[in-house]
């Protein structure tokens, strides 16, 4: 049961982090959104066997975590949450792709290389997305999405789904508490009541959602989620976007780790 409440607090952690006021948080949401999109596109554009060239891209999430003063552990935990899924997808690669390659002096199946590449790409992309939310917040992100003309209905859907999850978790918490207090010595919820439990949960969340919606419409809500003034894009925002985009593109075109390696070995020779 504490897990349910923990997940509620965990969910809201990103909201809390988004309220900080560091130089990264103060950047225009649109600029952060575009930078993240550029980053994601560049990272996923790498071929299956290019692991080395991906390494400079670790620099971006690391720098954002430091500059935005975010706690690294909870963010890493969130990234790890997604990784099992990726392991599930990529674990069969070593079986299908059995060509051998030389990897840091070891002879391994090429499937392991592709698996590792998927694993790293997933870590980087998930990290970038989490950092975007943790430094921008859902509401400001919505402003950015509206600025790039994403239809109102999709943005609203995104925002309300995000809010609705917490309503759902609160209801689960209330129900599991009531259940566990009257079922001593039982772990979890007995399979016999799964059906009625799920049914009750959906009815209760519908009910709650309706109350929340009513309270919104009583305060003039007509479908447009107004989140305040849209800030103007400043010079430093553009510098941020251009600098990162240049870095991503350079790192995409040139294999920076290899160049550094060549430089170092050249000097040694």
């Amino acid at each position: 049961m504490t897990n349910v409440i923990n997940s509620l607090y965990n969910m809201r952690l990103l909201d809390d982090l988004a309220r900080k006021e560091t130089s990264i948080h103060k950047l225009h949401p649109l600029v952060k959104l575009i930078t993240t999109v550029v980053y994601l596109s560049v990272v996923v554009s790498f071929g299956r066997y290019e692991i080395g060239s991906l390494l400079p891209f670790v620099f971006y999430p690391m720098l954002i975590i430091v500059l935005a003063e975010l706690p690294a552990t909870p963010i890493l935990k969130r990234i790890l949450l997604v990784e099992p899924l990726i392991i599930g997808i990529g674990i069969l690669n070593p079986l299908f792709d059995q060509h051998t390659v030389l990897f840091f002096g070891m002879v391994i199946s090429r499937g392991w290389v592709t698996f590792l590449s998927i694993f790293i790409k997933c870590g980087l992309t998930v990290a970038a997305s989490i950092l975007l939310i943790a430094t921008t917040g859902m509401e400001r992100l919505a402003i950015a999405l509206r600025m790039i003309k994403i239809p109102k209905i999709f943005v609203l859907q995104l925002l309300l789904t995000y809010r609705y999850i917490t309503v759902l978790i609160e209801e689960i918490y209330g129900m599991t508490r009531a259940y566990s207090l009257r079922s001593p010595g039982q772990k979890g919820i007995h399979i016999r009541v799964w059906g009625s439990f799920a049914g009750q949960l959906i009815l209760r969340t519908f009910d709650r959602a309706q109350w929340v919606y009513q309270s919104m419409s009583l305060r003039g809500f007509t479908g447009e989620y107004n989140t305040g003034d849209v800030p103007k894009v400043k010079f430093k925002d553009i510098v941020y976007l251009v600098a990162w985009s240049l870095f991503f593109i350079i790192a995409r075109i040139f294999n920076i780790p290899m160049l550094i390696g060549l430089l170092v070995t050249g000097v040694i020779k």
Partner: protein
């Protein structure tokens, strides 16, 4: 603040399952009045409030705010003038900060961000929680949540404040604070509650509802001391009027 009245004419409402919740209710509430609506559980109080706010529409009869009938078309205007505080503040607070929650209403009415800021500051100041503006609503105590929920409505500067059980689930001190807050408002107030002592202090007029009908409508002093009427309607005298629980001596 406008000097309009709120009028309810022959209101009748039944739920889709056939249950008749409100039967032929009529009353008029004038500007600046503070009216308490009381009744046993299931008497139809909450349904009546929903009808006033236009959340549901009556089968028969009408609700008039000023001279305007509450219909789907007039709702945006009506809702700007009637503000309702829900019984459960959790239903009302859904944004990430108290500030954004209080600003939600004014922003929907397309006020400039400077005006919104002014209204939010004023509303939070009025309910005494200006220091909580950057806090997440779910981290507040029950009393603070209630104050925040009231602030979300005050920021819309309504002419009429409608409150469903404003003092339920509050500790004595928070209850007292909400009560003095209610007393300090000059708005027209409509309050439903089972806390009859609170009603006695904050309302001048009481409407008693029994099985969807108006059982009595009169001054607070007259109604809340009428033992026979209250008992007939599933209620009892306010605690402060009842006999001393230790010696049994009557307070009258």
């Amino acid at each position: 603040m406008s000097h309009h009245k709120l009028e309810v004419r022959n209101l009748h409402f039944s739920y889709p399952d056939g249950y008749v919740a409100v039967k032929n209710i009529s009353f008029t509430i004038h500007h600046g009045e503070s009216v308490g609506i009381i009744g046993a559980n299931g008497a139809g109080k909450s349904t009546l409030l929903m009808l006033l706010m236009g959340v549901i529409f009556p089968d028969n009869g009408e609700v008039l705010v000023g001279d305007v009938i509450v219909t789907k078309k007039t709702l945006p205007m009506i809702r700007q003038r009637l503000g309702m505080v829900f019984q459960n503040p959790d239903d009302q607070l859904f944004m990430t900060t108290v500030y954004d929650d209080v600003a939600f209403g004014p922003r929907n009415y397309k006020l400039s961000e400077k005006d919104v800021e002014g209204r939010v500051a004023k509303a939070l100041e009025l309910v005494g929680i200006a220091h909580l503006k950057d806090r997440a609503p779910f981290k507040l105590s029950g009393g603070e949540k209630r104050s925040a929920a009231i602030a979300t409505i005050l920021a819309m500067q309504p002419d009429v404040l409608i409150m469903d059980e404003p003092t339920s689930a509050l500790d004595p001190k928070s209850r007292r604070r909400v009560m003095s807050l209610l007393k300090s408002f000059e708005h027209t107030k409509i309050i439903t509650s089972h806390d009859l002592d609170m009603m006695f202090e904050t309302c001048k007029r009481i409407i008693v509802i029994k099985e969807g009908e108006v059982a009595a409508d009169g001054t607070t002093a007259e109604i809340l001391t009428n033992v026979e009427l209250l008992e007939r309607c599933g209620l009892e005298l306010p605690l402060s009027f009842q006999n001393c629980p230790i010696c049994g001596a009557s307070k009258k």
